[in-house]
Amino acid sequence: MSNLLDIRDLKLAFKGLSGLSEVLHGIDLSIAAGERVALVGESGSGKSVTARIILGLLQETPNARVSGEVEFDGRDITAMRPRDRARLRGTEMSMIFQDPTSSLNPTFTIACQFAEVMRRRDPRMKQAECDARATEMLTEVSIPDPERVLNAYPFQLSGGMNQRVMIAMALVNNPKLLLADEPGTALDVSVQAQTLRLMHDLVEMHHTAVLFISHNLGVVREFADRVYVIYRGRIVEEGPTDAIFHAPGHAYTRALMDAVPRITGAGLPEVPEVSDDFLAPMVRHDGGAA
């Protein structure tokens, strides 16, 4: 089966003063076209760097050592020239960040930033065309008064509004893959849930594949078709969302699930920082797309 994204034996190390420190120890991950996949783990587990390697950003950091294959749409990203990688960003793949308000340029209006993004695809687009298309996209993310938002600066909009703007911006060029790094973690829970539902419907409609990065299994359950659990630079469990939630096979996955806050409020569970069980071999659930 041909996947949109195929990561094979991806390793990453950072060169520091005390030599190389390895961050990813050989990750395998795949996403089919239009599939929603979640990568779940605690902070520092290597999920964000994985997204940045897919985007081709980390390869350009001088002290990062990347090895392995990242095949996107039939082409190996790690072997590409930086310029070709940059060409894919913003057009074939795009990314949504944690804090929407500080991720938008504070000195330009939303309309201006939309135009910048759209001109990545078609540099000759006129401002009026850009505005029309942006209005369309903003309506799709349920923004009631797109005109006002287009003429506003990010600091004049609420966090939830900026989140929708960012989603619209990320999808305006119809990318094949959307990377979402803890989207909306900086927002309050109800706004986050709203925008995630919105994003879910939109990517389904546009048939956009998503790599959804989160530490929160509860959020992932609502959103993803398939889940990878990552711990300390290794994938420890992989399978369809239902299978993982019904029968978590790996000790670390169970610990993560216990860490989801419950409304019944039993207090925070004890999750050991390191446990021998967490280093147990990977658990794979069958029935996944890959």
Partner: protein, 342 residues
Amino acid sequence: MSPVLRILSRRLGISVIVLIGVSMLIFAIARVIPGDPARIALGPNATDDQVAAIRAEMHLDEPIVAQYGYFVADVLRGDLGESLYTNRRVTTDIAEFLPATLELVIVAGFMMVAIGLPLGILAARHRGRWPDHVVRVLTLLTVSAPSFVWAVILMLLFSFYLPLFPVAGRLNDSYDIARTTGFLTVDTLLAGNFAAFIDALHHLILPAIALALSGIGQAARLTRANMVETYDKPYIEMAQAFGFFPSRIARRYAFKPSLIPSLTIIGLDFAAMLGNAFLVEAVFAWPGLSRYGVAVILRKDLNAIMGTVLVIALTFLVVNIIVDLLIAFLNPRIRHSTRATS
């Protein structure tokens, strides 16, 4: 009222208060310096009667508050009195010397912005790599030596060992140019004398560079520091994630937001050049206001001191207002704020 107008009116109001404060301060300080201005002006051979006459004419025997009252009344009529040093109206002196200094400072200020900012952008874009190191070492050199040292070094190098530039003055004596604006580069062009224009420019370059060097270094270092900080902001990563060219990211995403904090200091540096110009003017025998100012202070020429200080203070205020308006223009947060911020 639009926010820009509000900023402008508020700034103008503050400026008037600052001017009054500065005039009071300098008025008091100038009169505390020991020595009788009338005696200094007339010289040791003057009779006591002559000295007394001048003192009466200048109201020097009256209480200081009354003296300040006379001074303010004169200023409001546009009269700054007569200089005891040049025996001319202070306004005439200022009109003659100010354009020379302004010409120097404006060219130096232009160099500061046109060279300093791009150097800072270059360093920030390649932070941690060799272009950054080169810029940082060079700018450290320019910042750490005062402008008169640069004036002497530049003069030695480029006027003496390598006679590329004239040693002193503003224009070769062989040219007779009518002074309409006092800016020789403008006047020569108005006179249609292109050879004289080139000569004026030729005279201007070395002193302007000497005056600008520390400002260039300062502007470059400031821009670099602010941009390096901005490069860590999430919207830079977002711009990278959208695949914009590094040069575009540097310009639109890192430089523009960083310019706002840099601009205030660059504006102050620009105004401070007016004072720093003194030593450069001294080295290059440049007939400017800074040189005039120091000469009149040494002779305790009260009217001329007040006039010079007022003009310099006024220039500071005007530059500050321009900077504030520029910042308001660059920073949408100020332009769109519903309340005026100071």
